[in-house]
């Protein structure tokens, strides 16, 4: 019995230690940092982007291709994947952006589809459509919100305190879907339309590079960063 307890306590201790250490990011001055550049590619035939046909407010909401999986026909690069250093303990300070990150609702589509910003930022949620939207977040660490943004409400400001990935949806236009990646350190980057990303000024060392994508899940791989050198990585993601 005692043994069991000792084991459990150790386990709890270990978990809480790991848990806290994961958040305990230490900002230091990085002078000799390297760069990670990479491409996230789709394993297999690039799928077609299905069209979303809005079923209401059709004078504003126009048909548009779905963004939940965008693969370039030419390069097989995946757009809107997020590359990040999963286990980094210390590195360059995470700076607040000069102006609030913008998150727009245009043509009943969220722009950008994936928004990366540091924890503690206030997001300016714009309503370019001028119709009723509602911003419904499905978050765990932050309190979930469901706020209406009627046409007269041009900007809705929302402060997000804790790092996590938040799914944002609109209940009025059920197809609208986006992700906020709220970061605890600055080494996060979204891929461009060819699947390229770049993480700059990384202190030399061995890291676990994670790549997250909303429909393809998460993959991780080891990466070695050398002083003032560029490390190239290729990540492949396959449908789950």
């Amino acid at each position: 019995m005692t043994k069991l307890f000792t084991f459990l306590f150790t386990l709890i201790g270990l978990i809480s230690f790991l848990g806290t250490s994961a958040w305990a990011y230490e900002a230091i001055e990085v002078t000799n940092g390297g760069t990670i550049t990479g491409t996230v590619k789709f394993a297999g035939e690039p799928p077609e982007r299905p069209m979303i046909e809005p079923s209401k407010d059709k004078e504003v909401c126009k048909p548009h291709p779905a963004s939940n999986l965008i693969v370039s026909k030419e390069t097989k690069g995946i757009q809107y994947a997020v590359a990040y250093l999963a286990d980094i303990q210390k590195g360059k300070p995470q700076e607040k952006p000069a102006e609030n990150p913008k998150f727009d609702q245009k043509g009943c589509e969220y722009l950008p589809h994936v928004l990366i910003f540091p924890a503690g930022s206030t997001v300016d949620i714009l309503n370019s459509d001028g119709i009723l939207h509602n911003v419904h977040t499905f978050s765990q660490a932050n309190p979930p919100i469901n706020k209406a943004q009627p046409k007269f409400k041009k900007v809705l400001q929302e402060k997000v305190e804790y790092p996590e990935v938040i799914n944002v949806k609109c209940d009025v236009h059920t197809w609208m879907n986006a992700y906020w990646v709220v970061t605890g350190h600055p080494y996060y980057a979204a891929t461009d339309e060819n699947g390229n990303f770049k993480l700059e000024n990384v202190p030399p060392g061995n890291y676990k590079l994670g790549v997250w994508h909303e429909t393809l899940g998460t993959v991780t791989q080891d990466v070695v960063v050398k002083e003032k050198e560029e490390t190239k990585v290729n990540v492949e993601m396959a449908p789950k």
Binding site: H136, P144, I145, N146, P150, K153, K169
Partner: protein
């Protein structure tokens, strides 16, 4: 001479003989007896003295330790420091005593002056009030004096105002002197109080010690008034002396487990003694035992014997003085037994979980069908009505079922009667003979022979339901039922709230975890399982294998109108169309049982009149009618022994038959009987009780309930729990909710909602609504008149939902009970409270209409508007706002608009007014509070409150339209 001599010798002998040693011995004996009497009186017959002395020693030691601790505090530097500061402060104060006295005197004077002026002003104010009255009177009456009155009023008001500076001045004077006094005293008072804390502690402990030392060693007793019924029929008082040894039972501070018994505080003192003060209730009303006894054995014996039997490490100890004490003490979990006699009315008593479990087992297994128990005389039979069963099942299936019910349905409550094949055949023969052709074999519209006398005639039919013969039996020829559509319906309209269907043993519980039932088979071939509570998805029978049990036609008719088959079934009417019923029936018929087999020649055999006659005898013998309504058996009486006072039964009254290995105690007899009901049978004594295949947990619980059946209720009428109306509404409401399994679909009191496991998180708004969860209270949300109508006659609120509220056919009384229940849960004033109707102002309605329009909040983007459906897919739709008028409480609408997430986390209704700048500025001056009220008023203006009586016409579902 010789005579004289002889006399002399005799006298001499008598006189000379010494009896001293005899006297001495007798005296010694007498002394010894006296001493022995003293010793016996003082020591052996007062064992309790030992306990009290021990307790006093224990408490004294503790108090002395406390005293030492308190005294040690006086030597700390903090205390020294305090004393020093105090001495300084006192010195300082003494030096300024003169000015202190002076200030006190001035304060008194200033206060008097203040009082005088404020009094004067008060009088002037009263005069002004009077003048105001005359003025307004003149105004209303168009009096010519109105100007004079006005002048008088103004004059008085001016005077009142004039006095204000004077009063303010006096007030500030008083405040200034008070401050001065504060300054003189410094922090003297604080320091004194702090010092007192140290000294009073010590003083208190000293007093406590003196108290303990002076405490007499004596019998402590309480009189429990009118708690014993004498043989002459009057209630007399009873003395209890338990606390003579259990000294600290009602004292705080002796809770720790290392405090030896009998000195520990009652472990549930907080919860129990509040409502059951020990001075009134004593101990034995709950714990039983011999309250007046003063020795350990006599007070406790009984229970300890039982414990000894079950606890192999302890020797059996039977005290012959108390062996036959009829109410042995309850210990541990068994204390719950004592709750029932007063709390009979609260069937779901949560404070006594095991007793309640036992009671539920007793009720759900239908024990009352064979055994009369007071209070259960008219409790409904637990099994289905068999009046028409011949048209429902095949003879082959019935044979297999009666032979061993759990081979077909592992968790069934139907027991195994351990019958021979021949006997089962005979019972099947009788049942089939009397029930075939009563349900399906007649043309539409044709009356059946039992229609007048059977279930329908006895008034239990709800007039709102289509009558028995109105249900078509001839199925439409041009409709091809589809099992796929049927399956879709079964999975979407709500069947899964009460039934496990086609999931095999992979059943999910309320948290969505699979529970695999692993039956154990004992030596007699009895399948034992833990009997599931009749609630949630296990409320209705598991329908896996139903296709082998019944037939398509029966299913269609049953689904269309369950009460046409069994007037007392809890299965509600889903208002299915003919096509839907056929689709579902087609699907259910595909669910086959792998154990199905044909019994050779059974159909021929059961036509034999001799066999039918034998079957009737067997049914009478085994009492099948205790649980089922069986034609021809309506007048039969319960076949088992009455159990109303079974808990009091003496061991001498219990027959152990040949089972000599079983210890002769009540508990052993009962537990073994429940485990193996025929264990006490002998060649002469044939026992008929069937085997329910129970596991030990359930057996123990049932035994506890049986032990509580003592008939003591009538001994203690003053102690019976009488719930207040609010508690009563809760008890009755919970009972109904249980009876109809509302929590299969809805979450009520944060429990239930098993069906929600079948919805994806984003689709939960398509699931049956929550009724009582967190901040959401149905009784607060909807009007009670609406709720009454809805329960009687459900109307779709969200017609696009697939799941539907079925028609239960509630009686008016049941509706009233449920409505009261929800009102009480919402903490509304009991019993009914009509919402305060807001006075709708046209400008508010207009403002609300503007707010709701597409230029602003665009409410009709999601909310249905009359016949106009919102755009987009139904997941995003919300109810017609016009319904709100008759349905929602106006206050709740405001609460809901303010913060929908708070009331129902995850709802799709967004918050429109998160802060003070969230409303449009050009409506009602941008005042959000007013805007919310305007929205409410607008919504309320859309519909109307239905008046008149509840309509009893059946409601048509959208599909039917």
């Amino acid at each position: 001479m010789a005579e004289k001599d002889q006399e002399k010798i005799f006298i001499e002998a008598v006189e000379r003989k010494s009896y001293g040693h005899i006297y001495f011995i007798i005296t010694l004996i007498g002394l010894a007896m006296t001493l022995w009497a003293f010793w016996d009186e003082v020591i052996t017959r007062r064992p309790w003295k030992k306990y009290q002395k021990e307790f006093n020693r224990f408490e004294l030691a503790r108090a002395e330790a406390e005293l030492k601790q308190a005294q040690a505090k006086l030597n700390t530097p903090e205390y020294k420091e305090l004393e020093k500061k105090l001495a300084e402060a006192e010195k300082d104060f003494n030096s300024r005593k003169g000015s202190y006295r002076d200030a006190l005197r001035r304060l008194k004077e200033a206060k008097i002056k203040l009082f005088e002026v404020s009094q004067e002003q008060q009088f002037l104010k009263s005069e002004a009030d009077e003048a105001f009255y005359w003025y307004s009177k003149a105004l209303h009456e168009n009096d010519k004096d109105v100007l004079i009155r006005k002048h008088e009023l103004d004059k008085l008001e001016a005077k009142v105002k004039e006095m204000q500076p004077e009063i303010d001045k006096r007030q500030s004077e008083v405040a200034a002197i008070e401050k001065e006094i504060e300054g003189i005293k410094g922090n003297l008072e604080n320091l004194q109080a702090e010092k007192r804390k140290y000294t009073t502690d010590i003083e208190q402990i000293r007093r406590k010690i003196e108290g303990i030392k002076a405490r007499p060693i004596e019998i402590k007793q309480i009189v429990v008034e009118k708690s014993l019924l004498t043989n002459f029929g009057n209630h007399v008082d009873r003395a209890e002396r338990c606390m003579t040894c259990h000294v600290a039972i009602d004292r705080v501070g002796f809770e720790d487990a290392d405090i030896p018994q009998p000195f520990r505080t009652h472990p549930k003192r907080q919860e129990i003694f509040g409502r059951h003060p020990i001075e009134r209730f004593g101990c034995t009303l709950c714990h039983a035992g011999q309250g007046a006894a003063l020795t350990v054995e006599q007070a406790h014996n009984g229970e300890q014997q039982v414990k000894a039997v079950h606890d192999k490490d302890r020797p059996i100890k039977i005290n012959h003085n108390t062996e036959f004490w009829s109410r042995p003490l309850f210990l541990g979990e068994n204390v719950q037994i004592g709750c029932r006699k007063c709390h009979e009315i609260d069937r779901g008593l949560e404070e006594a979980p095991r007793l309640t479990q036992g009671r539920r087992n007793f009720e759900e297994l239908g024990c009352h069908g064979c055994h009369l128990v007071k209070g259960y005389e008219n409790y409904p039979k637990v099994g289905p009505d068999l009046t028409r069963v011949g048209d429902k099942v095949t003879a082959d299936w019935m044979f297999q079922w009666i032979k061993n019910p759990r081979t077909f349905r592992v968790e069934t409550r139907m027991p195994n009667f351990l019958l021979s094949d021949e006997n089962v055949e005979a019972i099947v023969a009788y049942l089939m003979n009397v029930t075939r052709g009563k349900y399906l074999a007649q043309a539409p519209g044709q009356k059946t022979e039992n229609e007048g006398t059977g279930g329908q005639g006895n008034g239990s039919f709800s007039p709102s339901l289509p009558s028995y013969s109105a249900v078509p039996v001839a199925l439409s020829k041009n409709y091809q039922p589809s099992p796929e559509r049927g399956k879709e319906l079964v999975q979407s309209i709500g069947c899964l709230g009460c039934h496990v269907i086609g999931e095999g043993t992979e059943v999910k519980d309320e948290q969505g975890n699979p529970i695999k039932i692993v039956p154990q088979v004992d030596d007699n071939g009895v399948i034992r399982v833990s009997v599931p509570r009749k609630t949630g998805r296990k409320f209705g029978p598991d329908l896996s294998g139903i296709g082998s049990k019944t037939n398509f036609q029966w299913l269609v008719r049953w689904l269309k109108d369950p009460k046409s088959y069994d007037p007392k079934t809890p299965m509600p009417n889903f208002r299915l169309s003919d096509e839907q019923a056929q689709d579902i029936a087609a699907y259910l018929m595909t669910l086959k049982w792998d154990g199905e087999s044909k019994i050779l020649g059974l159909e021929e055999k059961i036509k034999d009149p001799a066999l039918i006659e034998k079957g009737a005898k067997l049914i009478r013998n085994y009492g099948c009618f205790g649980c089922h309504t069986i034609p021809g058996m309506e007048k039969e009486q319960r076949i088992g022994a009455e159990l109303t006072t079974f808990g009091n039964k003496w061991i001498a009254q219990m027959s152990f038959g040949n089972a000599t290995h079983i210890p002769e105690t009540w508990w052993d007899w009962t537990i073994n009987k429940l485990r193996n009901p025929r264990i006490y049978a002998t060649e002469r004594e044939i026992l008929r009780m069937p085997n329910f295949g129970l596991l030990d947990e359930d057996i123990k619980a049932i035994a506890m309930f049986l032990k509580s059946l003592t008939g003591e209720e009538r001994e203690i009428p003053d102690y019976i729990y009488k719930p207040d109306p609010i508690k009563m509404a809760l008890i009755q409401g919970r009972e109904l909710v249980r009876q109809y399994n509302c929590i299969g679909c809805h979450i009520i009191e944060n429990k239930g909602g098993a069906i929600r496991a079948f919805y994806k998180p984003q689709e939960l708004n398509m699931a049956p609504p929550l009724l009582e969860a967190g901040e959401l209270h149905e009784g607060e949300k909807v009007r009670h008149d609406w709720l009454s109508n809805f329960l009687k006659n459900p109307v779709p609120i969200r017609p696009w939902l697939k799941v539907r509220m079925p028609t239960f056919g509630f009686s008016d009384e049941e509706v009233a009970t449920l409505v009261s229940y929800f009102s009480v849960l919402a903490k509304k004033r009991f019993p009914y409270e009509l919402p305060k109707e807001p006075f709708l102002l046209p400008n508010m309605i207009q403002a609300g209409a503007r707010l709701a329009s597409s230029d602003y909040l665009n409410c009709f983007n999601c909310h249905q508007q009359g016949d106009k459906k919102p755009e987009g897919p139904p997941e995003g739709w919300a109810p017609d706002l016009a319904m709100a008028t008759g349905r929602l409480n106006p206050d709740w609408i405001v609460k809901w608009i303010k913060d929908p997430q708070k009331i129902q986390p995850g709802t799709k209704m967004p918050m429109f007014f998160p802060d003070e700048n969230s409303g449009p500025d050009d409506i009602l001056e941008g005042n959000e509070e007013q805007q919310i009220l305007a929205l409410r008023d607008y919504v309320l203006s859309l519909g109307s409150i239905p008046t008149g009586k509840i309509s009893l016409a059946p409601v048509k579902s959208p599909e039917e339209k």
